[in-house]
């Protein structure tokens, strides 16, 4: 099993969610996040004072998948999140030791 974590542009979330549904994932979690990478920050103006804000809004998506589906999920996120400009984000893939569905106590692939 894998935990696929993607840091994406917030405005790509809807399309990524739709595309991931088609790959057959059973669920995902999306979290509002702030951060910086090579894109660095932006400028905001409040009453004439300009501020360099180094954190930009991002969405962090987490998807738990079995090893068979993982390549398709990673590929889907990569394709759908890409706009070609700086700030498209990153994907990280982490091996998962176990997954437990709390309601039933199922474990491993059965819990996905």
């Amino acid at each position: 099993m894998k935990l696929v974590i993607a840091y994406i542009n917030p405005f790509r979330l809807d399309e990524i969610r739709d595309a991931l549904k088609e790959t057959g994932v059973s669920g995902l979690t999306a979290i509002n996040a702030q951060g910086f990478g090579r894109q660095s920050g932006h400028t905001e103006t409040y009453r004439g004072a300009e501020y360099e804000v180094d954190m930009v809004p991002k969405v962090r998506i987490e998807v738990l998948v079995d090893d068979v589906l993982a390549p398709a999920v990673i590929d889907t996120i990569e394709r759908t999140a890409r706009t070609g400009s700086i700030g498209d984000g990153k994907i990280a893939v982490i091996p998962v030791e176990d997954v437990i569905r709390i309601r039933t106590g199922e474990r491993g692939n059965d819990a996905l």
Binding site: E44, T45, Y46, G48, Y51, V53
Partner: protein, 405 residues
């Protein structure tokens, strides 16, 4: 007495009182999330403390009789303390509505004026020191100024300056006090070094809307009757606010490239401030000119605090002091006989200028002394640890926004 006048002034009382909560949210949205309750509280508490003091002695010292030095009326007497002889007549003030309504109407002005100062001292002043400050300030600064301008004192009687709804009494008074207080208090940790951004502009914009709405009672009610003068004040209030808001975002787009929501509402408030002393004396086109000047000048006045390193956190000086001066001065030349019975002239302009200087110097110097003494006696600033952690938890043991729920 007539029921029509009474009904309108009662309505105005409620409109003006609502401005203080509106101001609280206007300011509250502009501070960081860890300080929003502290900001709201500093406004709301004025409704508590000032009401008590006003009823006990403030109203009497402002509006009962006049103690003179030479020909100059400087302060009222204690005859009306506790408003105990107020009754239900209009014998004291001779207005076309009961005296109790007039005292309530004036109370709402006494409340919002110290609350205006709160924007300058945001995110770093002790609550206890603030509570004591506004009590003392009300009696030593607000009450005399009110007496001089509206209570038969020397600014109205001897200098013959005009102030329809509080350019001197409310805005220059609060703006000059804000300047003195921040000189004693010092800037916030991180001022000019890090981004101190508003935590909720929607709250600020809603607060500004409530202020704009309430201002119709502030200026319209200041006609002290339900008549054509109130109608003119309504009209000029709207025109000045709308023009200043539009002028501000134009200046902003011209200077920074983009119009901002905070800019639009700040411009509206600047216009409302500038029209306050003039609302009953100028024409709609005069109000438009006033709004244009206020919107542009107040926008550029924002830079002063960075030049002088004064952390006027939410721009009380740039909006209320500068806007109040613009309105009070230009009123001298923009007044038209057909609207308020006074024709603009060089003489009137000079009277206005003298009254502006008196209000500014008196409020600034007395406030400075009050702040210095309070700082020595009880300390007016929170500790560095409290400031970094936020005033809400440190001073009130509450938080506005939890992590869950």
């Amino acid at each position: 007495m007539e029921s029509g006048h009474t009904a309108w002034l009662l309505t105005s009382c409620a409109l003006v009182l609502l401005m203080t909560p509106g101001l609280a949210f206007f300011y509250g949205g502009m501070v960081r999330a860890k300080n929003v309750l502290g900001m709201l509280m500093k406004n709301y508490v004025a409704m508590g403390i000032v009401t008590i003091l006003w009823i006990l002695v403030g109203a009497s010292l402002a509006f009962s009789g006049s103690t003179t030095i030479g020909d100059y009326g400087v302060i009222g007497n204690f005859d009306l303390w506790g408003l105990r002889d107020l009754g239900q007549s209009n014998d004291h003030f001779g207005l076309p509505y009961p005296d109790n309504v007039q005292m309530m109407f004036q109370l709402t002005f006494a409340i919002i004026t110290p609350a205006l100062i709160a924007g300058a001292i945001a995110e770093r002043m002790k609550f206890t020191a603030w509570a004591v400050f506004i009590g003392i300030w009300s009696l030593l600064v607000y009450v005399p100024m009110t007496h001089w301008v509206w209570g038969g004192g020397f600014i109205a009687s001897n200098i013959e300056a005009l102030d329809f709804a509080g350019g001197l009494v409310v805005h220059i008074n609060a703006g000059a006090a804000a300047l003195a207080l921040i000189m004693v208090l010092g800037p916030r940790i991180g001022f000019r070094k890090e981004a101190i951004r508003p935590h909720s502009l929607p709250l600020t914009i809603l607060g500004a809307g409530i202020l704009w709405f309430g201002w119709f009672g502030f200026n319209g009610g200041s006609a002290l009757a339900a008549n054509a003068a109130a109608g003119n004040a309504f009209l000029t209030t709207q025109v000045a606010a709308a023009t200043a808001a539009t002028a501000w975002i134009l200046a902003e787009a011209f200077t920074h490239g983009k119009p901002t929501t905070l800019g639009f509402v700040s411009g509206a408030v600047a216009g409302l401030v500038a029209i306050t002393p003039a609302a009953g004396f100028v024409s709609p086109l005069g109000a438009m000119l006033l709004g244009l000047v206020a919107g542009v000048v107040c926008f550029y006045a924002l830079r002063l605090k960075f030049m002088f390193n004064f952390d006027d956190s939410l721009d009380v000086v740039a909006v209320h002091l500068v806007g109040g001066i613009i309105g009070s001065l230009l009123l001298g030349v923009l007044a038209e006989e057909a609207y308020g019975g006074v024709a603009g002239s060089m003489d009137q302009f000079v009277s206005q200028a003298i009254s502006v200087v008196i209000a500014l110097v008196y409020s600034f110097s007395v406030t400075f002394v009050i702040a210095k003494v309070l700082d020595m006696v009880m300390g007016i600033r929170v500790s560095e640890e409290e400031e970094r952690g936020g005033l809400d938890l440190a001073l009130h043991e509450e938080q506005a926004y939890g992590f869950v729920e």
